[in-house]
């Protein structure tokens, strides 16, 4: 377990990432996000589609430079490093991208793609690099026969595993996994999650795990951050989020998760959100969730809810977090006992 004095591997302080959009307006994809990720932990990120998870993940590993705020690695600002030092530093902070095609060169064989990061590093003899790459291809459950194939000859899940193998060969300190297991069937998904957990135990790896799959995120994360429209709205240990969600959006997420049960055994307590999906270009005044929040009142239109520690180590931004916490939580069947 971590000590209070340990410097977090990642510190984000009031990070903002902005994109210009049509009409000279600005889209704040990430808007004032602060968080700490500790060495050896798995930090889960869930949230609405388009809420800025991918953009935040990219910023955490210096692939996107914040327009506001700072990202620190082990307490230091990586942008202060010389270009060459930053390149070397980046090897320790890797991403498995949401779209496997973005990371794979269609003209390279699978073996070359997986070996490429090692080739670029250029520290090991070629035969050793090939051996390491082949070993990793096997560890992600692909037959070595795939080594000579090209990306277009692979299924979606096979490509995703190639991307995971590619990142793992570098033995980085931290990996941002952006929907890294989404395209895998549950058995291979279980294999990969077990592999990631083994590597974490073996090498003290840190993961930032972005996913829409609540079962997956709850299974592997120590803490979970919930994002909505560019902001983190709730952050706490996994058990707390599952047992006592304090934000209405988190509650809706937990209740809407589809469960693999026959129709007569499913609970009917699903919270269905109505109302318009807001745009990050012109977020609603006051609380950003208010257009879809079943608990919204007039105050939510005027006052921005403060980010506060509602309960020990349980942070949330909602005026009525205490009331939400006390409401009965729809139970996930088979969830964490």
């Amino acid at each position: 377990m971590r000590t209070a004095t340990a410097v977090p591997i990642i510190t984000a302080h009031e990070v903002g990432i902005h994109f210009p959009v049509a009409g000279g307006r600005t889209l704040r994809a990430v808007d004032g996000v602060s968080l700490e990720v500790h060495r050896g932990e798995t930090f889960g990120v869930i949230g609405e589609s388009g809420s800025g998870k991918t953009t935040l993940g990219r910023a955490l590993v210096c692939l996107e430079r914040p327009a506001a705020g700072r990202v620190l690695h082990d307490g230091d600002d990586p942008y202060r490093l010389s270009a060459a030092a930053l390149r070397r530093h980046r090897r320790d902070f890797q991403v498995v991208f949401q779209d496997p095609n973005a990371a794979l060169d269609p003209r390279m064989t699978i073996l070359r793609s997986v070996r490429e990061p090692l080739d670029v590093a250029g520290e090991l003899p070629r035969a050793e690099r090939t051996r390491l790459a082949l070993e990793m291809i096997e560890r992600v459950g692909l037959n070595p026969e795939f080594a000579d194939r090209y990306p277009h000859e692979l299924s979606g899940g096979q490509k995703q595993r190639v991307c995971i193998a590619r990142v793992l060969t570098l033995r980085p300190a931290l990996i941002v996994c952006d929907e890294a297991v989404a395209a895998l069937d549950v058995s291979i998904q279980a294999d990969i999650l077990n592999l990631l957990a083994d590597l974490q135990r073996e090498f003290g790896l840190t993961y930032v795990f972005i996913t829409h799959n609540l079962g997956v995120v709850a299974h592997i994360s120590d803490r979970i951050a919930v994002m909505y429209l560019g902001k983190i709205v709730e952050l706490a240990a996994t058990e707390l989020i599952e047992a006592r969600p304090l934000h209405p959006y988190t509650r809706a997420l937990l209740s809407a998760e589809p469960v693999a049960l026959p129709s007569h055994m499913r609970s009917h307590q699903r919270i269905v959100l109505h109302g318009e999906l807001p745009s990050p270009v012109s977020p609603p005044s006051g609380c950003r969730f208010r257009t879809r929040c079943p608990m919204a009142v007039t105050r939510c239109m005027q006052d921005v809810p403060a980010w506060r520690e509602v309960e020990p180590e349980h942070f949330c931004a909602c005026h009525f977090a205490e009331d939400v916490g006390d409401a009965i939580v729809p139970q996930r069947p088979g969830g964490t006992p």
Partner: protein, 333 residues
């Protein structure tokens, strides 16, 4: 079956690479009735996407060979020329692709791509096409659709691209929709909304849907029947509630047991041991045999898909085995 909208019979797909030909699916058969939603699950790489692409006539012509029949409304699509296929594709049958970024054209805005699809198949004016495109974007839950009409794919988040793809696939109101992992990049609240839109079209227009996914929870909530594939073959087909409670094929049972939602947190997940055989390693009898805990010498004989009363199963021990389903620990009555 005469009441089926889609009737796939003995569909086998082969790929050529150099002088070699590799068979990736073997004699896949299933049917879908009008308005019905059928789930297709199976291990990664078992042939779900290529089956969908074959129905669409989109497999690379020179490098693949397809045998079998694909009847849609009585017509055999497998026998159609590429020109005939182009006419029905997008109009009678359409597909939501697994990887939106490779299916969307990076140089056109998503709005243009939706209205162009519509204008290619329906006789509508430019203005009307634009209005219908914006309506389609609204329907799939894209905020500020007028603004997003002019957005290029790279300016959208993963989930928005996926929704843009869905809008393209739906704008012509096809008879059959093949949805390949349509909601993997969406949070569950938006996913619920999309599933409702798709379900609404099935009910209202009698659109039939082949729902390819790894999310067994989603299958449970959206589909009435489930087809499970393993190593290129259909191994089980049945009513969704039956399969969830009492899977009859050991592979289906293994899938249900691997669900992280059913395991204790941080515990090692019960994955199915071993790996899918490559074509060269394919066992002669049951293809699941090297990984099956219930294998006996009888399993060395080739297995055929047998009627099990309320579905079909490819396993000679189906009658004697009682396999765990989604209700871990509890005895499925």
């Amino acid at each position: 079956m005469t009441d089926a909208l889609l009737d796939v019979r003995d569909l086998s797909i082969h790929f050529r690479s150099g002088a070699r030909e590799v068979q990736v699916t073997r004699k896949v058969s299933f049917t879908i009735a009008p308005g019905e939603v059928v789930g297709l699950v199976g291990e990664s790489g078992c042939g779900k996407t290529v089956t969908g692409l074959a129905l669409m006539g989109l497999l690379p012509r020179g490098r693949s060979r397809v045998t079998g029949n694909i009847f849609l409304g009585g017509e055999d699509f497998a026998a159609m020329s590429p020109r005939q296929m182009r006419r029905v594709r997008g109009r009678r049958i359409s597909m939501i692709f697994q990887e939106p970024m490779s299916a969307l054209d990076p140089v056109f805005t998503i709005g243009e791509q939706i209205s162009e699809t519509l204008r290619a198949h329906r006789d509508v004016s430019v203005g009307e096409a634009r209005a219908r495109a914006i309506e389609a974007l609204t329907q799939v839950g894209i905020p500020e659709p007028e603004l997003r009409y002019d957005a290029y794919p790279h300016q959208l988040s993963g989930g928005m691209r996926q929704r843009a793809m869905i809008a393209i696939a739906l704008v012509c109101e096809p008879q059959l929709l093949i949805a390949d992992e349509p909601t993997t990049a969406l949070d569950v609240t938006v996913q619920a909304q999309i599933v409702e839109v798709l379900g609404g079209l099935c009910a209202r227009l009698g659109m039939a849907m082949l729902f390819i996914t790894h999310d067994l929870g989603l299958v449970a909530e959206t589909c009435s029947r489930l087809v499970t594939m393993y190593a290129g073959e259909v191994v089980e087909e049945g009513h969704i509630d039956d399969v969830l409670v009492r899977p009859r094929h050991p592979y289906s049972s293994g899938l249900l047991r691997s669900l992280p939602a059913l395991a204790q947190r941080k515990a090692t997940l019960p994955a199915i041991p071993g790996r899918v055989p490559t074509v060269a390693e394919m066992p002669a009898g049951c293809r699941f045999r090297p990984r099956c805990a219930h294998a006996r010498s009888v399993c060395e004989d080739p297995q055929s898909l047998v009627d099990s009363g309320n579905g079909h199963v490819r396993c000679c021990r189906q009658e004697e085995l009682v396999l765990p389903g989604a209700l871990r620990g509890e005895v499925a009555a």
